[in-house]
Amino acid sequence: MKLLEIYDKQLVEQEEGGFRAILTRYLNKWIFTVDHKLIGTMYITFSIFAGIIGTLLSLVIPMELSTGNMLEGDSQQYNVIVTAHGLIMIFFVVMYCSMPAMLGGFANWFLPIMVGAPDVAFPRLNNISLWLIVVSFGLLLTSSCVGIGAGTGWTVYPPLSMMEYHPGHAVDVGILSLHIAGASSLVGAINFLTTVFNMKIAGLSWPKVSLFVWSVVITAVLLVLSLPVLAGGLTMLITDRNFETTFFDPIGGGDPILYQHLFHPEVYILILPGFGIISIIISRYSNKGIFGVKGMISAMSAIGFLGFLVWAYHHMYTVGLDVDTRAYFTAATMIIAIPTGIKIFSWLATLWGGVIKITTPMLFVIGFLVLFTIGGLTGVVLANGGLDISLHDTYYVVAHFHYVLSMGAIFAIFAGYYYYYAIMNSNRILGIVRYNEQLGRIHFWTMFIGVNVTFFPMHFLGLAGMPRRIGDYPDAYIGWNLIASYGSLITAFGLLFFFVNIFTPYFKKKALISKKFQRGAMILMGLDFSRDWQIGFQDPATPIMEGIIDLHNYIFFYLIVVAVFIGWVMGRILWRFAYKWSYPTIGDIEIFKNFTAYNQIIHGTVIEIVWTLIPTVILYLIAIPSFTLLYAMDEIINPTVTIKIIGHQWYWSYEYGDNSSNLVEFDSYMVYERDLNEGQLRLLEVDNSMIVPVKTHIRLIITSGDVLHSWAVPSFGIKVDAVPGRLNQIGLYVKREGTFYGQCSELCGVDHGFMPIKVEAVKVQEYLGRLYK
């Protein structure tokens, strides 16, 4: 049986010259092509192109955040850029919905080869999938330029994305672009599934199938099942916008939260093909088989299955779901940590005892392992419904998903690209080409340093309570924001090495002098750690916040233990088993002796059970205090004061209705910079602050007049979404006097960053006196 079979009639047929022949040949080869390899190459090229645009957009964000005034106060422009960056990176680079880099690129190239098929099952559909994604990308870019642009965040939550708050057709064009992208990836997913199930060669049994194929199959199943649901949600959104249906409008009997249920971002789709690529590369460069293949396969299937059951992550704990529902989602989300842990441990066991060659792809894989572990551990933190109240929609979430995507998925893509470089880019003219190893390493290290400098400080910003998607922020946050901005510059600088490396074969050898390039230097700031709002949570003023901080510290103990253990294993592997260019010493001979023994071990039942059970026990230990806190949060004990809080674009209004003969209502606007007095805080000061009595049980009723807002005061441990058509209530018991600040935490339009909350907690007598005068 031949291993490779190639069929290209066009090449044989067209041999005559002339413009017409050249044009026909070009069209047949690149435009009308049905060859899976050419389509794969075009997908990769497209995703690099989209990645350049997405990266350039992402550079605008830290530039704005480093000065706060780069876009000259145009917050809508900032929102549009944030939205476009998210959509492009997720839908057009990584692959959530549409799958350019991973499914379209690598799977198109290698999946048919790995299952022994001559091509994919439906080559014409493969072609239309490519052109649909190109058309969709064009529409998305158009939507950013039409009218006021789509500044809704990539999740396009109503009512902000309704016609009232985003007039014009930018959002419509954007939604239809997502529809087309969805059709493209649906077609691709069906194609790959049929290829694997129908065209797998005889004798290739399922346990023998490559892990990459497994990961693509699981991803494709998830895509087939979840994409149409997303499409349904988007369809309702577009009919709401254009045909005046009322699915998401409470006035007509709908509910904005329904959209959040339907638009459940299947985030695990993003990372699964990455797992496959990582497995292949680890196996190759440690010269060993993957440890525990069956465990890996079942772990991936479990991630897919559980991921489908969990559609409410961090983003829905605050919208007013029932407490039991929140408990279910907490449990289900935390369980996903177990299969993920199995995968990490299996990879480490694969490396253990191998002869590891550290090339550029392997560097990216090791970077992936380290950083994905960090991202996964913060994911366990975010899974806790009680703790997440303080972290939802802050920069902690941003840091988490960039650790998982920007350093997980993107690192996997880079690793795969370097790994398959020679196969994908060799052609008749250039011969067999290889990337430049030195440039690749420089690329890895600059990017590794850059992304860490960018995203690690965001954890601190998130803990301190800085909301995401704001174009300007209170002055206390400037330190970490500046560092993050420098980090993004380092990342962009590192990417330049990648772009140079792409064109390596096109340069002559002389031009390949890369020694002049140097790594970007990390710029350290003098920081004052003693001040508040720099690292860690804000000072607690309520029992709930104290509970949140205690829970966070409690979880952190286990996270540190796990992180230190994995770091130790990783360091030990790299120290002991990395292949070095030197004459063999006695130690090396010992390693080689052991290698023959280690190489035999490709699964171990006992150790696999151990590393399944230990995370389970840890999760149980975390879950007990977590659920206690979650249910404690939901209790409202005999409230003596009831305050109704209504969110508007872009101010808060408060209603004190306890004294029925003397209702107190007032609006609370932000004080602009030019009106500030000495000693007042920029972007946090309001004209009429909310007053609450201390040591009193208070009931807060929160709703909204127009779009989604979120009433968040970090010191109270309260973050409740203001949803039009819903009354969310929460208990408040302030322990000490003082002034507490907060900001709106849900993207609510242009001045999202300019509707602060100021709460003054005073004694009861003073409260009564001040309120009723």
């Binding site: 069929y7 044989v12 559909l125 239309i128 064009g138 049929t194 087939v224 099942l225 249906t245």
Partner: protein, 431 residues
């Protein structure tokens, strides 16, 4: 190893240079052999990386490698134009006409090329058909998930109706359809059409059952044999006496399975009675040409007889297809009637929104399904499904009726969604 590959690569190039052949068609004379199948077969078992970019026309697998086509691009690019044109970003009437014709033209080219691949190129092997059916199934699963999102919305809203609609479902003060009226008629129509189409498909796939060891088929075959005997003996054929003779002959045999055989024989005889005898006699060469010699080859006669038999069958199937189409059109008309006289509208509240989106998308799928059935009907009339195929276990994959089968699956998907719609919206959601 690296050295080895480089040598290999340079050797190939050198040989190409020496022989003076072009690189694209760089086939060394000894490497490839033409066999009786008309395409070259590789003698080497492994093609190395260096040869990947000197591809040859080699096909040693049952799958279909299609040719590059303009159809996907012609379908895709107009989509962008439609979106931008609808929202007024671009506006051009002639552009719209061009885009629309490109879209429809692309779809037509695509559909026709699939049929041509199947019938003229004979590329649709068992494996290819299996893949097509798998793909269709997955597409239907994704469609089910699409409806799942709307049903989710329906239950989400209706199980906890909010204050704006009076906290009841259906909304307070709204007149909704009774489940016993037009909706019931629609249900009957759609289910009936599904059953009839299935019946038609069953009859169609029995075409190949002529070769199977089926009792009914055996009976018909026996009848044909007798008919041929009569024909060769140049006796006149009296159908009634023929049938009686057969029956008497049958009862004369004292067999154990007498009753069973009786039923089988009478069924076969009934088939024979229904045959188009006039047609047969009209085509009788003796009636047409006086100096005609009777064909001695029995297979010719057998073929003629089977043709008559199939014509009868096809008439039945055609009736089924027409009836299904009529049912679909009546269904759509009833649905349109219901929409036109609806006491609520799409934009006066959540009930109207859900009702019109759910039934509207279902109606759209009915429309698409009836277009598919129309295509199948035309293909049937043209004769795409007439080919006799050797019967096997899996009917779907081994005859040429994959298109019919996929349409049938789609139509049943439409049926099942309608059942859920009827139960949930019209029945459970009525007062």
């Amino acid at each position: 190893m690296k050295r080895f590959f480089e040598n290999l690569f340079s050797q190939t190039e050198r040989s190409v240079l020496n022989t003076g052949k072009k690189v694209g068609a760089g086939i060394a004379a000894g490497e490839w052999k033409n066999t009786e199948w008309g395409y070259p077969i590789a003698t080497q078992e492994v093609i190395f990386l260096a040869k990947v970019f000197q591809p040859q026309h080699v096909k040693r697998h049952p799958y279909h490698i299609v040719r590059g086509t303009i159809a996907p691009l012609a379908v895709t690019l107009p989509l962008a134009f439609f979106v931008l044109n609808y929202f007024g970003v671009i506006s051009s009437k002639i552009g719209f006409v061009i885009a629309l014709s490109s879209f429809i033209g692309g779809l037509t080219i695509w559909a026709i090329s699939i049929v041509f691949d199947s019938l003229y190129d004979q590329q649709h092997t068992y494996e290819v058909k299996r893949g097509l059916v798998m793909g269709m199934m997955m597409f239907i699963i994704s469609e089910i998930m699409f409806f799942f999102s709307f049903f989710w919305s329906y239950f989400y809203i209706s199980l906890s109706p909010n204050i704006a609609i009076g906290c009841v479902w259906p909304p307070y003060g709204l007149t909704v359809y009774s489940y016993m009226g037009l909706p019931l008629l629609n249900t009957v129509l759609l289910l009936l059409s599904g059953a009839i189409l299935t019946d038609g498909y069953t009859i169609l796939t029995e075409q190949k059952a002529v070769h199977e060891n089926n009792e009914k088929v055996i009976a018909v075959e026996e009848a044909f044999t007798n008919l041929m005997n009569l024909y060769t003996k140049k006796q006149s054929i009296n159908t009634l006496t023929f049938v009686d003779e057969r029956r008497e002959k049958f009862f004369a045999k004292n067999d154990q399975n007498a009753e069973k055989k009786e039923i089988a024989i009478s069924a076969g005889v009934k088939e024979l009675r229904d045959l188009d005898w006039d047609l047969y006699f009209f085509e009788n060469p003796q009636n047409m040409e006086p100096n005609y010699k009777a064909p001695t080859d029995l297979s010719v006669i057998e073929y003629a007889l089977i043709t008559i038999f199939l014509k009868k069958r096809n008439k039945v199937i055609k009736t089924r297809l027409y009836f299904t189409l009529v049912c679909a059109v009546v269904f759509l008309f009833c649905q349109g009637y219901e929409y036109y006289f609806a006491p609520f509208s799409m934009n006066d509240g959540i009930y109207g929104s859900l009702f019109f989106l759910l039934t509207g998308f279902h109606g759209f799928h009915v429309l698409v399904g009836s277009i598919l059935i129309g295509i199948i009907t035309i293909r049937f009339i043209v004769g795409n499904f007439d080919l006799l195929n050797v019967g096997t276990k899996f009917q779907i994959f081994k005859n040429k009726s994959t298109g019919f089968a996929c349409t049938l699956f789609y139509w049943h998907f439409v049926d099942i969604v309608w059942i859920f719609l009827y139960i949930v919206i019209y029945w459970w959601g009525s007062r």
